[in-house]
Each structure stands twice: as C-alpha cells, then as structure tokens.
Amino acid sequence: MDDLVIARSLFGMTMGVHIIYATLGVGLPVMILVAELLFQKTKDKDYALMASRWTKGFAVLLGVAIPTGTIAGVQLSLLWPGFMEVVGKVIALPFQIEIYAFFLEALFMSIYIYAADRLSPWMRIVSVTLVAIGAVASAVLITNVHAFEGTPDGFKIQNGEIVDVDPWAAFLNPSFLVTSGHVAVSAIMTGAFAIASVAAFKMLKEKGPNKVYLYHQKALMMGLIIGGLFSLLTALNGHESAQQLHEYQPEKLAAAEGLFETQQYAPLAIGGFTDRETEEVKWAIEIPWALSYLAGDRFDTEVVGLNDFPEEYWPPLFVHTLFNAMVGIGSMLILLSLIGFVWHKFLKRDQFPRWLMGIFIAAGPLSMLSIEFGWIFACTGRQPWVIYRIMKTEDSVTTSGNLGILFLLFLLIYIILMIATVLVLRYYFKRNPVSKEIDTNIS
C-alpha cells in the first residue's frame, strides 16, 4: 500500500515536471512558425528576431523536455509493469507512432537550429512546420493512451486472458479525438500566453515607446491574439470533454461537480469545497439547472451522482477544486484577451494601462497552472482505476521496493534541472538583450 502511494507520487511528479516543458515544447514552435510567416509577409525584421530568440529559448526547454519525457516513458514500464503488459498487447500503436513523431521533431529541430544559416527561407518554414507538427503529434498520441485509460476499447478480458484484440479500435477509442484536441489547443494557448507574459514584463521595464518597446509590443499582440483564439477553442472543446465524462465516466463528472444525488435539473457548483459528511459543496455559488444543461444540452438531463456508485470507486473529492480552477482560469483568460482586443482595436490606444499589463504578465503562469490542474484532475479523477473499470492502479504497480529513495533522487534531479533552466535562460537573455540584437539586425 505504501509503495503504491510512493509510486503514484513519483510518476505524478515526473509528469508534473515533464508537462511544463512539453507543453511549451508544443506551443512555442507554433509561435515561431507564425513569426516566420509574418516575417515573410511583412519583411519586418522584428519578426525574424522573435523567431530566432524564441528558438533559443525553445532549444533550452527541449533540453529538459526530452530527458524528462524519456524518464516518463521508461518509468511507465518500471513503475506500472502490470499496466504496460496490457498496453503492449492492446494500445501499443500510439506509443510506436509517437516515436516517429519524435524522430520528425528531433531531425528537423536540429536542422532548424544548427543549419539555419544554410537554409533558404522556404526551407526554414518547412523545417519549423515539421517541428510543430511533430510536437503536436507527440501530444496527441500520448493523450491517446490517456484517453484509452478512461474509455478503454478494442479488447476483452476473459478468465484473466486478453482476447479479441483490435488495436485500431483501441486507438480510435471514444474519447480520443475530443481529449487530444483539448490537450493540443490548450498547449498552443499556453505557449501563446507565455510569450505574451514575457513581452508584457519587458514592456513595463522600458521607459517609452522606443524600438525595443515596439518589438515587445508586437510580440504581446501576437501572443494575445493567438492565445485568445485558442483559449476560446479550449473552452468549447472542454465543454465537449465534460459531456464525454457525463457519458463514459459519470462518477468523475459527479466528483468534479461535488454532486451526490442523481437528479434532473442539476445545479452547477462553482467554487467551494466538497464536504463528504453533509454531502454538499460548502461555500459554493450554485447556478440552478446549469450542470444538466452542460452535461446534455437540456435542462432535464439526468446527471448521475456519487451515491449511485460504491464508495470504494469514488474519485477523491478534491478534484472539484482542480476542475474549478482549470475552468476558472480558462474563462478569465478569454475575458482578458477580449479586453485587450477591445482596448486596442476600438479604443485605439497604443498603450495598455499598467494594471492590465500586470494581468498580462500573469496570463502565462496561470495558463500553465491550468494545464497542471487539468492533468491532475484527469489522472487522479480516474482513481482507483488505471484502466477504467478494468484494471486497478494497485494491481498494476511494481512489486519491487526501495521506491522512497528513488523518489528523493528524482526530486533532487528535477529541482536541479528546473533551477538550471531558469539560470541558463536568464544568463543567455541577459547576455544578448533585444536592444543589442535589434541594432545588429539593422546594420
């Protein structure tokens, strides 16, 4: 039992670290691609400079995304050998195809970085497009496995034997498209807001609208427009994710909403904490009928409550808070992009007020938090199952001990890597400030 908790914490920690770098690894190439395209269109050298500076940052982040991903992939076999046996027999395809996506990304990433001076502009755009495709494909394919864990398909278990295997049916499991779409658009949104955050921060440090300020302003607008667009897509698609939960994993939705009694016209509880004893969400704002509408597009949709399931199969109740935080941040960021857009387009102001800039700075970190909350909600909300209604997490865990010491070692490495990333990025960008590069760009 203890080993199970440590194994879960160890894997969760690995994923929690990998996801930071991996999400930016999906989002940044898209931003770089847009900058390259804008440069070709406008011939404004600032965009070329953005592409080259973001690529530097991206390369540093990949230096951690790849090893932590490698850890995640191998740890899956080391910590959950029981689970991986089923994966190998049934849902090996996404892992295998993901390898090809990694190759694509790794090959063209090296080409884009180390051969940049020898490529024609057209070839640079092709290379960075392939990098972006490889990264998005990595995310979509790994999410395929996650979707399979929630909505398994394509096999049966008879007398402990895996039979009737159809690997493509497993691949095309019911929640694949919606879930992986959510992961992809939320990653692009996060990459865009991360760019906007840095740009806003830098603008605040400049005195007036000089060259450097204008450079960052272009980056900020780019981040806000793409971020706003994709936060809208994320929310629309998140709504579908929730409907999928209603259909395929009702106890997860019930836990997410703190709903105990099955009912029509179910209310949506926003905020607050789920109380096991009184079976209600304390200090929440309740919107009557809203949950039924969200789950099934009709107010009389019957939403299943937790009491319909044996308590041993309940997900932990704190997922309500995680879910709220994700949705809350998502909605706020849509609003923020709208305000920015209106301010710029309709009020025709060139500069944003300081308080708004302050919120822009927070947008990137908030978006990243939302990703973390979303994942912890999705994985923890699936408990006690590692494959929904088929295999329990505790039955898939490794039988070897000594996990405690490994946990500490990995924790140490992650701390070192995260601190080193920050130091290296600071060091590089302090050494090569925009002001210096803009000047060399023009001469």
Partner: protein, 346 residues
C-alpha cells in the same frame, strides 16, 4: 513461431543502431572533456560539432527500444520492468543530467567547462550501466519467490561477468567514437585533431578486443548455456575478429596527405569496425535465443497479440518511407556538407 522472430530481429536492429550511435555520442562527450584545455588543437570543437545536432536523434532511439520491447514483448515487460527498476532509474537520472547540461553548455559559454565535465563523466558511466542489462538477462542474478522477482544487486556487482561487460562497454565506446571522430576530423581537414583521435583509437582498439575475450571467458562459468550456444556461431566470431583486424590495419593504410606524415584510411577503419560489432552482435543475439530473460521469459512466452504485431509492422513500414528522406537530408546537412563540417575560420 516466426512472427516473434521477426519482432526480436527488429528490436535487435534498433538496439544495434542505438549501440553504435550512442557509443559515438557518449564517447564524443568524453573526448570533448579530455581535450577541453588543449586550445591549440581543435579536437574538442570537432567532438562538439558532431555532438550538437546528433544527440537528440540518438536519444529517440533509446525510447524506441523501450517502446519496441513492451509493444512486441509485453510478457517480458513485467520481469524486465521489475528487475531493472534500480539500474534503470539510475541510468535515467544520469541521462537527464547529461542531456540537459549538454544543451545548456551551448547556450552558456561561461559555464562550458563545468558543464562539459558533466557530459564527459556521464559519457562513460551510462554505457557501463546500460550494458549491465546483458549479464542480467543471461540468468543467475534474479531471485524469484512466490510470483515476485528481485534483482540480486550484490551478486551482480561482485560478478566478474559484470565487470567484463562494463570494461567492454567503456572501451568500445571510446574506440568507436575515436574512430568516427578521426574520420570526421579528416573530412574537416583538421589534421591535428585527426592525429589525436587516430592515436586514441590505436591505443583503445586492442583493449576492447581483450574485453570481448574476457566476456566469453566469464560467460563460460556464469552462463554456460549461452557459452555453449555461442560456440555454434564460431564463423561469425571469426568474421568479427577479421573485421577488427582490417579496421585496425586501415589506420596504417596510406593517407591522401602522405607527404605531411599522415597515415590511415579512417573511413575504411570505421566501416570495418562497425562490421566487427555487427557480426559479434549477431552471434551473441542468436545464441541468446529463444530467451529474453533466461530462464523465465522466451520470445514466445512474452510475445504480443498477433493483431497488434501486424498493426505495428504496418506503421513501421509507413514510417520508414516517411522518415527516410528526413534522415538523408539530416545526414547531408551535418555529416557531408563541408560548410558545416569545415566552417570558415572565425
């Protein structure tokens, strides 16, 4: 069951490619540490110029091996995953440090020295640990009790066989990488670096061969089943030794710039030595069959579901056609293009 045989052959192929690429990659890290302070030679630059674009691609291979193993032989996953928890985790920790610091060292010039040490030291520790998987699969180091399995770490690290493998891994890493870097410097026209790496290869080559003999010798005592099997592949072993002999001799063949006092045809040396490892690897792998982990897991007992196998093969074929042009383009840009290999003096 021929399907399992195809699958294990495919995995063997990926392992072989990784072994060669990783040896060169890890070795290059080691050499760039050793020659860090020799400013007058460009030996370090050569190693770095090779290393920068290639490590990412090499790293994908290690993931590819793990994925191929659990997809094709899920029945082996349980045993291997359980038994390799500790050594596997240590490898992962070192690999993470190495990859990250390798990238960092390109960005933060000032810290290059310290960072190069990390990649140099892990550069020979990782192969030493990676190869330990082989003695473990040969049997004798796994304790099975009521359905559980456990690696006997104490026994492993007091066994001569383990040290034979470790010695072999380190010497092969350095041998292969010095050969490749010799060839690479030769193409780049960096003749000082060429002379250094050639000399390294001359020293280390015989050591690696000696270590290989040491492996066979310890195998006789510790994994006799494998020893018996491997005797059936004597012709392959002889071919392997011949590959070594030709490759080693090629280091003295006449060089284009003979007048300047240079010797050797590094390209021929490199290719013959890769062939040497190919033959020996084939013999070892064939003799190891049908066991993946002796004596519990065979390729048949561990094999995946046939439907999954077929679907996987389809993706392999499709991917082969999609990715090959990418690999060729990559090769031309970094290993053949004179503008990269041999940049103008700056």
């Amino acid at each position: 069951m021929p399907e399992a045989l195809y699958a294990i052959t495919l995995i063997w192929g990926v392992v072989f490619i990784y072994a060669v690429m990783a040896s060169i990659d890890f070795g290059a890290g080691f050499w760039s540490m050793i020659y860090l302070n020799k400013q007058q030679t460009r030996a370090t630059n050569i190693a770095n110029r090779y290393l920068s674009p290639s490590w990412e691609v090499t790293n994908v291979f290690i993931v590819a091996i793990v994925v191929a193993l659990f997809s094709f032989f899920p029945g082996a996953t349980f045993t291997l995953g359980t038994v390799l928890l500790i050594p596997g985790s240590i490898i992962l920790l070192l690999l993470a440090l190495r990859s990250a610091f390798l990238v960092f060292s390109h960005v933060a010039e000032e810290y290059k020295k310290g960072l190069t040490f990390v990649s140099g030291i892990t550069g020979f520790l990782i192969p030493a640990l990676l190869i330990s998987v082989l003695p473990i699969t040969q049997g004798g180091f796994i304790d099975s009790f009521d359905g559980n399995q456990e690696l006997l770490l104490g026994k492993l690290f007091t066994s001569p066989s383990e040290y034979a493998f470790v010695g072999f891994a380190i010497s092969s890493t350095l041998f292969l990488s010095s050969l490749l870097l010799a060839d690479y410097s030769n193409v780049a026209g960096e003749m000082d670096a060429y002379a250094i790496y050639r000399k390294d290869a001359i020293i280390i080559g015989p050591i690696s061969l000696l270590m290989a003999a040491f492996i066979i010798f310890t195998m006789r005592n510790e994994a006799n089943w494998l020893y018996e099997n491997i005797l059936n592949y004597t012709p392959w072993m002889i071919a392997s030794i011949a590959g070594f002999a030709l490759g080693y001799a090629a280091l003295w063949f006449p060089h284009r710039q003979k007048k300047a006092g240079f010797k050797g045809m590094p390209r021929i040396a490199m290719i013959s030595v890769v062939a040497q490892y190919l033959f020996a690897g084939y013999a070892y792998g064939s003799a190891h069959l049908p066991y993946i982990v002796y004596p519990d897991v065979t390729i048949e007992s561990g094999f995946t579901h046939p439907e999954t196998f077929r679907a996987l093969i389809v993706t392999y074929i499709v991917a082969f056609f999609i990715l090959t042009p990418g690999f060729i383009y990559f090769w031309r840009l970094f290993l053949k293009d004179k503008r990269y290999v041999k940049p103008k003096e700056s």
